[in-house]
Amino acid sequence: MILSASDLRKYYGEFCALDGVSFQINEGEFVSIIGPNGAGKTTLINVLTGLLTPNTGKVFYKDREITGIGPEKLSKLGVARSFQLVNIFPNFTVLEFLMVAIVSRLGKGTNFYSSLLRNQEVTGEALEVAKLFGLEEKKNVLAKNLPQGDKKLLDVASAFALQPEVILLDEPTSGVSTSEKNKIMEILVSASKEIGIKSIIQVEHDMDIVFSFSDRIIAMHQGKILADATPQEIEKNEEVVCTVLGQKECFKIFSTLLKR
């Protein structure tokens, strides 16, 4: 077990966003969190990464309690995340962007007096990460001038550059065309192997991606976990398919099941 949550509850005023959520993530797992809008998925990610403190409940990372520890400390422990909406440094080039993560991981941020560009270690590693994500040709392009898919990829790449053990991805392919989605996912999986990331947790709406990449799926509805099982089991769970995925997905999945 690498990351676990026990009985998380989070209220926004009267509204209960997380209602007793518990689960465990094991080393080597690719876990997808699914659920309709407002199910509490992003709140869960925010609580897991310590941005939000839950009203009750605890989060553990390798036997160490990390509830509400905050993103900056968490990144140093080995947990990183990416964002649902594009979250970039608009005026940074791709390479500079990645350098921020590498400088921070190497603990060189308080290096006041050495030239960044002459630092082979930092520039070299940034280039490596850019290559992994197929961004090396755009290394000198400003982040704000990248196409949407590349912005998304850069956001994820910077989290990978921290070389975390666990990474949480909040809809890594949202706002990206369908044809690009699979490409991004494949890059993510191969890059995580290359970098040595042990577990991936992602929130995702695209069911094709969820079912083809996940080892396990956690289905949420109204702040609760409805089901926590393998994709094969989830597919057969009618309640989950219809309440969580909604009418359209419900129809889609059943029609594919019928075709088989």
């Binding site: 990144s75 940074f92 400088v103 921070s104 006041f112 007096y113 960044l116 560009l117 630092n119």
Partner: protein, 339 residues
């Protein structure tokens, strides 16, 4: 140019041709040479204004580390400038300690400590709240200087006696000769060192982190950057720089008084920076230079110089938010594309 597209970059421009780099080196050498021979060329008055500029230039380097690089607008930065100037006044006229090097060192240490204390509070906030807090601290210091008149001389301030430069006592020679001779070059050397050190700071990994914080503090946090701590470091460096500027300025003006830390003086630093352009490393200094000469000219023409400066500021913000440096660099870019 849209205002929200403005930003400061430090890393070397890409695909810079060798000829452009050579031009740059020559330009820097030419500027240095100009400042070196200036007191021998023109009028004493021009050199005197340039000497004032040297002081402001150092202060502006510090100011823009916070504003241009970290994204924090301090509206009380004159506090640190006044700190530096009062340090010279205290040391020379109260303690009879004259060596300039000691005064500089003490000013750096004292202002860094003060900036650490004030900064610890201020960096908890951003945007307008940060600006207002720094303004409040500046005005607090102003009240202190006024009320504790038996220590500070109140609104009359204190005299600044002539400091020793590199151990040389230069009190026998006339004032203008002292300023145009040894002191001019002393200040020029301090400014050169300060500029060089600041350039190293902004092109270091620390500088990169500051710009990351400016662009997107939330993302920076997730990449493991301790945002508040780094803002605090920037605040301290910035305060110390402004104090050094104040130290350089004090012997030139010869008398320190509380208006040095009044909020309009902080506003002057903001104005200079906007005039020259905060999106360029040298921009604020250029702004300081233009401001000093423009103010001198306009003040001699009319008593309504503030009115004219207000109009200039409004014009700048609307038409050229990148300041003079922004206009120049866009012209250079156009020119290079044209070749």
């Amino acid at each position: 140019m849209k205002a929200d597209n403005l930003t400061l970059k430090t890393l070397e421009p890409k695909n810079t041709s060798v000829s452009f780099k050579k031009t740059k080196t020559w330009a820097i050498l030419a500027i240095a040479l100009f400042f070196i021979i200036l007191p021998r060329l023109g009028s004493q008055y021009v050199s005197y204004l340039i000497l004032t500029f040297f002081g402001y230039a150092v202060a502006l380097l510090g100011f823009n580390l916070l504003f241009g690089y970290t994204g924090l607008l301090s509206f009380g930065h004159a506090l640190f400038l006044a700190m530096g100037a009062y340090t010279v006044a205290f040391f020379t006229s109260k303690f009879s300690i004259f060596p300039m090097e000691i005064i500089l060192l003490v000013a750096i240490v004292v202002s860094a400590i003060l900036a650490a204390l004030i900064g610890a509070v201020c960096v908890q906030y951003i945007k307008i709240y940060f600006a207002m807090l720094t303004l409040a601290f500046g005005m607090l210091f102003y009240s202190f200087l006024i009320k504790f008149y038996y220590v500070t001389g109140g609104d009359e301030g204190m005299r600044v006696l002539r400091p020793y430069l590199l151990g040389y006592e230069l009190s026998a020679i006339p004032k203008m000769q002292f300023l145009m001779g040894g002191y001019y070059y002393y200040a020029l050397v301090v400014l050169t060192i300060a500029t060089w050190v600041m350039w190293k700071i902004v092109s270091s990994p620390f500088g990169l982190c500051l710009m990351a914080i400016r662009d997107n503090p939330e993302k920076a946090t997730y990449l493991g950057v301790d945002v508040k701590r780094y803002r605090w470091y920037a605040f301290i460096i910035s305060g110390a720089y402004s104090a050094v500027g104040g130290v350089l300025l004090a012997p030139v003006i010869g008398q320190v008084d509380p208006t040095l830390t009044y909020w309009t003086h902080s506003g002057t630093l903001v104005f200079m920076t906007l005039l020259g352009g905060f999106t360029n490393f040298l921009g604020p200094m250029l702004g300081g230079l233009i401001y000093i000469f423009l103010q001198d000219k306009v003040m001699s023409l009319t008593t309504y110089w503030r009115f004219i400066f207000g109009a200039i500021l409004a014009f700048l913000v609307i038409v050229a938010p990148g300041g003079v440096a922004g206009v120049i660099s866009s012209l250079v870019k156009k020119g290079r594309r044209g070749i």
